[in-house]
């Protein structure tokens, strides 16, 4: 490997949920077009650190490798993002890699993001259909409405927006931008709308919309360019109308 170009990485490692984190340096052989996952795969194949000492392979989550499954979110050079689309050529070295910090670490770069899925349950992020039997076509929708809703439906539950949110922590219990945006999506749908009240109720108390400090970091970090601040504002407006309606008892 001496002659070829190398890629230098610094990875924050943690052998288990209770263990203390430690940094470990790695060198891997450079190839054109490689991304951070390729580097992690190389380490898995030959786990040696930069000093040449044998070590364990770095645990990480990844699946589709085309930025659509959401699995491989991690903090790379200080910025949360998907590792598969983090091209080595565009990263300053040594490349630092850390697990997302807002979720409990399982091992190394693997974190437990269950909270995100629980929050989707909490806000009833689905269309309540009567049943899966044949009831004919769904409601008509204009192409323009589809073009508003479709981008919202591309959220890959990666959690990058939560990593940069000052309000996303155990204390506030804030559901975060991704989940608020899903509420907007389902409240837009002609059938989903019929149950908008339930979703808004779920966002009315602690951990709901009120926790948002409007730092706007989320919208800048989202790999799917989801208009998160628009979603937060839209849900905010819906909540006001909802509260007024409830006050008037209708």
């Amino acid at each position: 490997m001496a002659e070829g170009k190398i890629v230098r990485l610094r990875i924050k490692r943690q052998s288990g949920p209770q263990a203390a984190p430690q940094w470990e340096d790695f060198n891997v052989a450079y190839r054109p077009g490689m991304n951070v996952i390729v580097a992690l795969m190389d380490i898995a194949a030959q786990p040696r650190n930069a000093e040449g000492q044998p070590t364990t392979s770095v645990s990480y989550e990844a699946n589709c490798l085309e930025e659509v499954c959401g699995a491989c979110a991690m903090v790379i050079n200080g910025r949360p993002r998907q590792a598969c689309s983090a091209l080595i050529d565009r990263l300053e070295q040594p490349i630092t890699i850390e697990p997302l910090s807002r979720f409990p670490v399982v091992r190394d770069l693997v974190v437990n993001r269950q909270r995100l899925f629980n929050d989707l349950k909490r806000v009833k992020a689905w269309i309540p259909i009567d049943g899966s039997y044949d009831l004919g076509p769904g409601p008509r929708e204009s192409a323009a409405d589809q073009e508003t809703a479709y981008p919202l439906s591309r959220c890959i539950s990666c959690g990058n927006c939560l990593e940069v949110c000052p309000q996303y922590n155990d204390k506030t219990g804030f559901v975060g931008a991704a989940v608020l945006s899903q509420v907007r999506l389902f409240n837009l749908h002609p059938t989903g709308k019929l149950h908008a009240g339930e979703r808004l109720d779920a966002l009315s108390g602690p951990g709901g919309h009120q926790e948002c400090g409007f730092a706007q970091n989320c919208v800048n970090i989202c790999p799917k360019d989801i208009p998160l601040t628009d979603s937060i504002s839209a849900v905010g407006r819906q909540l006001i109308v909802h509260a007024v309606r409830q006050a008037l008892g209708s």
């Binding site: 499954c69 992020a125 689905w126 204009s142």
Partner: protein
Amino acid sequence: MNPKIIIVGGGLAGLAAALKAAEQGAQVELFSLVPVKRSHSVCAQGGINAAKNLKGEGDSAWKHFDDTIYGGDFLANQGLVKRMCEAAPAIIDLLDRMGVQFNRTPEGLLDFRRFGGTLYHRTAFAGATTGQQLLYALDEQVRRLEAEGKIRKFEHWEFLSAVLDEQGRCHGICAQDLHGMQVRTFPADAVIIATGGVGAIFGKSTNSIVCTGSAQSALYQQGAWYANGEFIQVHPTAIPGEDKLRLMSESARGEGGRVWVYKDGKPWYFLEEWYPKYGNLVPRDVATRAIHKVVFELGLGIDGQPAVFLDVTHLDPHVLDAKLGGILEIYEKFVGDDPHKVPMKVFPGMHYTMGGLWVDNERQMTNLPGLFAAGECEYQYHGANRLGANSLVSCIFGGFLAGPAALEYARNNRTDAGSHIFDQELRRQQAINDRLYAAAGEENPFTIWRELGRLMTEHCTVVRHNDKLRLADRQIEDLLGRYQRIRLSDTTRWTNQTFFFTRQLYNMLQLARVMVQGALARDESRGAHYKPEFPERNDERWLKTTLAQWDEAAAAPRLSYQDVDTSQIPLRARKY
């Protein structure tokens, strides 16, 4: 107590089965390697087929059926394929009711595009991320049922094996927690396998990382039949990468994209010249072989490299963004060029397995009673070649069939199997794990895997030669020998990914032999299986389903053959 159904896999097929089974009263336990929302089905780009005939073209379920059978070169059993094509329009309606953001026409109806192997606009789509949108819709419905207590998820768990009684009937599964790593057995009244594709056997493919076929292989080694393993689809247009081959969906051509190379200094649209009727939308096996010929026989790859152009630069940029945004974004992010402006460079890549676990013609049950299968992991719907956008519909249809069928089986066959079969299976799996941990050889599992991928890609994809297949089979046997001298670089007992990968690798090697031997035996050319030595389809000898059975004594596959149901559409030559 309601019958308990275990479903392994939370892609489209698994979720579809879970939804139906839970809705009809089953208590469902859903196992998946990854949170189900991250399953490989999210990768599907182009769309889902259903003959809704919303474009006034006179499309019909029968034409969809005919295209599918003809596209599959008559190797698919016709009964279930016909039922699938008839059910497809209602499946689209249901997905639409669940809130899938399908593209729309000015009238607010669903829009449809053309895909390969048909002359009709039959493919519904949600941008170029249709699989993601469909998977999310089912994921949301399953989450609703989970909130109602009807479905319980075991995510980050790996299925290791089925728990079978002495008669081979299935009573549950044995699985391992990917984090805590404990091995456990789980009883069930019926089990549905929906574990998807096998891409990792080919090293690099368009599939996701977890598509190893390990579960299917484990079951095959327990006595489940594996059918038509030699039928592997190589997609004509993928972007070669260090870690995977990223797909450029057929929808790019469906929306007007053209494939070309330079010849005598001028663009040569070879697919349009060779196949004037279907042009760029010939079925995948045909397009892939054409590209191979242009690159390897005619030496016309771009700059002498294995690559051809896929060109959408002449199309309206707004239409491109509305209908293909998702895939153009992939190209731009991973290659760095803007496909609106410069033609993309692509090459064929391993994409899909038509073969899979054998299931019956009625209710998706394998030969092991109580064990069902649905989705890409089974063999039923695509014959010798799958048409684009037919997989998503077959996954959902198969899941919808398997869920209620498993429930019905469970209601009629509730027996107490006795705890000894669970203890036995648990011990067997733990013994495998202990051996792996204790292995103190010198072989590196990743090296063996890369070697396997190279062998399979070279010898068991586009063009197949008997001498090379024979050699490949021997070399896989060698790899199995080397596997016995393996060593884990990590022997910790917590979230040990090297351990799981190495365990799967054994199953990949065994399943690879099924594919290679199936291909070696089949001396004809049919759909995706092409042998220059036997260039014609041979119906007299080979209009047969290949069945691979594990021969315990030989530790190798034993092949036998089964007749194909061709009762509705008579055989005809396949000429595009």
